[in-house]
């Protein structure tokens, strides 16, 4: 009995290490060579989500000296004549590798609805089928090179289902795998010990037996999606080291900043390097960029924290040969008012008329600045960009037809709402 048990464990371990049968063969999945190759062959997105609505004045469209400018000054970027907020020195240095849009315009100034729109391309109330997060859609359209890995990982706490939409009508197979933040792995993920793998396999076998009776006469599609998740769980247990940022050099952890967001960006890089295609990182918990009160003082901290980690992440993607395959997006759901309101020692309220964001990588043109606002930042005076234009651009960069329709219960659902928008030709 003991010998048999030992044999079984050895066999399981062998399977784990040599690409055997257990859970789809997870053995050398994460060896550096195969991981790097897989990563270089597939497209990735890292969405750095600035929840709450970052101020365009204190990020990518500063107006120092204007009455609406606030106390922050600006610094020159690597693009002649273009300045960013003084607390974004790394992003200013990397501006020549990025695309900056200063003329985003939307209409929904509610956090939940605005976040939903800015992450799905659909207004929350306009479709019967709940639209998925655009990274879930990307995962649906672009099968990961390594199917045993999660296609979409979310890092850090979401506010609610609207500020961080899930897989929507695509179903559980495309739901994001949740990491709690601060560089931590998915909760309750055990280390890849032989005993844990054996226990998992036993539980999986039992689940399969019990599910067999349940399947009879039922639609196999949702059940298959659930089965896929369970199989993926096995791979995750075997590969929990991909979530282990303590394996990264101390110097890297310093470069990203010894902050929650720094650790999360480092984790995002580690995941992408090892083949996870789509990662959403939420900066801080809740609506951290929603600075109605005491905005300008604490903005120094949040901007610096964001800049340090995002800058290190972009540097690493470039240095490691992943930049041409990885789209990095820095954005929130809207911008903030030119007026500096007195809702507490001062801050800015929500503003959708014009706002700013930045993205880069994935083979698009670099150092492009799109749009312009007037001297006080109250109006767009050149090249308004809609959220639908933005999604058309993202999908196009990923090689996905943005106006493609998916079928949901017999209804055609376009990737971008009502087939609106056009890709930004300036970056393609």
């Amino acid at each position: 009995m003991a010998v048999s048990h030992e044999f079984s464990r050895r066999a399981l371990l062998h399977g784990a290490m040599a690409g055997g049968a257990a859970f789809g063969g997870f053995g050398r999945l994460f060896a550096a060579d195969s991981a790097a190759q897989a990563s270089r062959q597939q497209k990735h997105v890292i969405l750095l989500w600035m929840s709450g609505g970052p101020s365009q004045f204190e990020t990518w469209d500063p107006k120092p000296g204007a009455p609406t400018g606030g106390p922050h000054l600006s610094i020159p970027t690597t693009i002649p004549g273009i300045h960013f907020d003084e607390f974004l020195p790394q992003l200013a240095r990397l501006a020549e590798r990025m695309v900056t849009i200063r003329s985003m315009t939307t209409k929904n100034g509610d956090h939940s609805a605005g976040s939903f729109l800015a992450q799905t391309g659909h207004e929350p109330s306009r479709v019967i089928a709940p639209p998925p997060h655009w990274l879930a859609m990307a995962a649906h359209e672009l099968a990961p090179a390594r199917g045993e890995l999660p296609a979409f990982v979310n890092i850090n706490r979401e506010q609610d289902v609207q500020t961080n939409p899930g897989a929507g009508f695509l179903g559980p197979k495309y739901q994001q795998l949740y990491c709690p933040g601060n560089g931590a792995p998915p909760e309750d993920l055990p280390p890849p010990s032989v005993a844990d793998l054996a226990a998992l396999e036993a539980r999986e076998a039992l689940r399969e037996r019990l599910a067999a009776g349940f399947r009879a006469g039922r639609d196999p599609r949702p059940l298959a999606a659930h089965d896929a998740i369970f199989r993926q769980m096995g791979s995750l247990v075997a590969s929990s080291e991909i979530f282990d940022i303590s394996r990264e050099p101390e110097s890297d952890q310093d470069r990203y900043g010894r902050t929650r967001f720094g650790r999360d960006c480092l984790l995002a890089r580690r995941l992408v390097e090892r083949g996870v295609p789509f990662v959403r990182v939420q900066h801080q918990n809740g609506l951290a960029w929603d600075k109605h009160r005491r905005a300008f003082d604490c903005q120094r901290h949040i901007s610096a924290e964001f800049d340090t980690a995002a800058g290190a992440l972009i540097d690493d993607l470039i240095a490691r040969g992943l930049w041409e395959q990885t789209l990095v997006v820095c954005m929130g759901e809207f911008g903030r008012t030119p007026e500096i309101q007195g809702q507490g020692p001062p801050g800015r309220n929500h503003y959708t008329k014009n706002w700013a964001l930045s993205f880069g990588g994935c083979g698009m043109k670099e150092g492009v600045v799109i749009g312009k606002t007037n001297a006080d930042g109250t109006e767009i005076i050149d090249r308004p960009v809609t959220i639908h234009d933005l999604f058309c651009t993202f999908y196009t960069i990923l090689g996905i037809d943005p106006h493609k329709e998916l079928d949901f219960e017999g209804r055609p659902i376009p990737l971008v709402e009502n087939k609106l928008g056009q890709p930004l030709r300036e970056v393609l």
């Binding site: 400018g69 918990n285 951290a288 600075k291 005491r294 949040i302 007195g342 020692p345």
Partner: protein, 351 residues
């Protein structure tokens, strides 16, 4: 001592008509020997009021309306002071500059008489020495600097706080400077050579995470007229320390941020939305050593001090996160800044 504060039916107001939000007030300073007051607000200029001017009707109501003076080219003024002689005003801004303005009887000079790039970061606080010969500044570069007041020649520099410094004050005899910062530390310095004399752990520091983080560490500080007592305001409390020893005297909870000592009475004004004036009783002070204990993240544990001995003189609701406290006319009046650009005036009387 029975005493009271009564609101004066005359308020001050500043607005530049640019419809970019109210000029929220942060600091107020009265001229020692003339009926003028300056206010630091959400602007690159200071507000100036003639307290003897008649109110006039503006859209918001009837007010003594202020002018905007001492312009920096960009950013906001973050700290300023009026020399005891009333001859000069010094302003420091987020544009990194320290500027010196000459008072010309009814308003400052249109252009600075001297200016320097003072800090590698926002100039956070500015204070003339009591004799007016020197200026001290703290900046976002975490430095404390000492300047010759007339020329803005740099005399000394000292590394000060590990977080952004937020305020500073001289002792009345000019021998010491105290700085306070977001790191929750109060540092006592020798005013002549900027050697640190003592560090007092106020605490209350946080990492500024989330949507509405509370103010971190020390926001404002003040020194009593006799130089014995140091008051520091943080997000949620005001604490009083014995300046010579750094020992804790007492604290007032739920009343922090803004602090000011009365120039003649043993009164301490403190608070933001709810301004409290506390008549403190020095005879009952029993200073005790601070524990200095830290939590697992290395931050000072919350202060454990008794309630500040004394009693409340007034509890004034100024609402909407107003800041700025100044005592005028030898302490006979108190001015309170508000977030909507209004300054209310109160008359202080002994019973």
């Amino acid at each position: 001592m029975a005493a009271k504060l009564t609101q004066i039916k005359k308020s001050l107001y500043v607005d530049d008509g640019l419809k970019r939000g109210p000029l929220t007030l942060f600091r107020l300073r009265a001229f020692p020997s003339s009926p003028f007051m300056l206010g630091q607000c959400t602007d690159r200029q200071l507000a100036l009021w003639n307290l003897e001017a008649e109110p006039r009707q503006v859209k918001k109501g009837e007010f003594v309306v202020g002018d905007l003076v001492c312009p920096h080219p960009a950013g906001w003024i973050r700290g300023f002071d009026v020399a005891s002689s009333s001859d000069f005003i010094a302003t420091g801004g987020s544009d990194r500059t320290l500027r010196l303005w000459k008072w010309e009887g009814t308003r400052p000079s249109d252009k600075p008489v001297a200016q320097v790039a003072a800090h590698d970061g926002w100039v956070e606080a500015v204070a003339f020495s009591p004799d007016g010969s020197r200026l001290a500044t703290v900046g976002a570069d975490r430095q404390l600097k000492l300047w010759e007041a007339g020329s803005l020649k740099l005399l000394q520099t000292a590394p000060a706080h590990t977080g952004y410094p937020r305020d500073l004050a001289w002792t009345p005899d000019g021998s010491k400077i105290v700085t306070g910062g977001e790191d929750g530390q109060l540092i006592v310095w020798n005013g002549a050579d900027l050697q640190p004399v003592a560090t007092i752990g106020f605490g209350e520091a946080n990492d500024q995470q989330g949507q509405n983080p509370a103010l971190t560490g020390v926001y404002r500080l003040a020194i009593s007229r006799d130089g014995q007592w140091l008051a520091a305001g943080g997000a949620k409390l005001t604490a009083v320390f014995e300046l010579a020893t750094g020992r804790g005297v007492g604290m007032v909870k739920e009343s922090g941020v803004d602090v000011a000592f009365h120039p003649r009475f043993d009164w301490l004004a403190m608070g933001e939305n709810q301004l409290r004036v506390w008549s403190y009783e020095v005879a009952k002070f029993a200073p005790k050593a601070l524990s200095g204990d830290k939590d697992k993240e290395g931050r000072l544990k919350p202060l454990s001090l008794p309630a500040l001995p004394g009693q409340e003189v007034a509890n004034i609701k100024r609402n909407d996160y107003g800041q700025g406290i100044a005592f005028l006319d030898g302490g006979r009046q108190m001015a309170l800044g508000k977030a909507d650009g209004v300054v209310d005036l109160w008359e202080a009387t002994e019973g």
